[in-house]
Symmetry: C2
Subunit: 138 residues, 2 copies
């Protein structure tokens, strides 16, 4: 698609076939994905390339990492106005223990957390585990 290429260029990410595919894959999936998910979606692609592509996306700040506690790092596209680097606009992440999916709750911001005197809070990782909306209706 035209749009993705322009998007990547606007973030000064050089456009390649692989990068377009991965970017589209991330935007189509409405949940966070592991490297292995992408790997299985594109058999012909090498894991290292995927790894470095995601890393590039992270550095250029169109993707953010999620540590959902499963031991496998997940990734998701950032929202249009996201500032992953700053501490503003950090949203919750939800991990469903039934279907295993991890999703961004972009409308739910992390509350201000108090820490004891002498401690300096710079970043907060908050993952809620439980049953997601799709699994809870069954």
């Amino acid at each position: 698609m035209q749009g993705v290429e322009a998007f990547l260029e606007s973030k000064s990410i050089r456009v390649t076939a692989m990068r377009i595919l991965i970017c589209n894959f991330l935007s189509d999936k409405h949940e966070a994905v592991a490297l292995s998910d992408i790997e299985h979606a594109f058999d012909k692609a090498d894991r290292t390339t995927l790894y470095r592509t995601i890393k590039t996306f992270e550095e250029k700040e169109i993707v953010h990492q999620i540590d959902d506690g499963t031991g496998v790092t997940k990734y998701a596209l950032c929202e249009p106005n996201c500032h992953c680097d700053l501490d503003t606009d950090l949203h919750l992440h939800f991990h469903c223990t039934q279907c295993g999916s991890t999703i961004c709750l972009t409308d739910h911001k992390i509350p201000k957390i108090k820490v004891p005197k002498g401690f300096i809070a710079e970043h907060v990782n908050l993952v809620v585990k439980g049953i997601c909306d799709k699994c809870s209706i069954n």
Copy 2:
């Protein structure tokens, strides 16, 4: 020490030399420890034994796991009146990005987290990253 043996027995954990050592090690350290930390503290001990000892401690609920996002699981002794299994009494964990230590902020409970309609929150993992009290004075 007499105390530790009685403590283990009170939790129906069979007392062994290794378990006393590890339990003391955990209580002396005032921060969460990784398996490799214990491994290095007791060269003669086998990693598998440490692994299973910690697992036993967890099952008997005298130790809780901490996922601080470093990719290495940390462990810490539970507070006297802790109910790790339940969702009450969950305290914050702080990971210092300077000295690498991870500590329990037992006096700071995790605030109630709202999730969207249809989602059921069962557990929350919250890790604050930043500079700890010891590192911030330098």
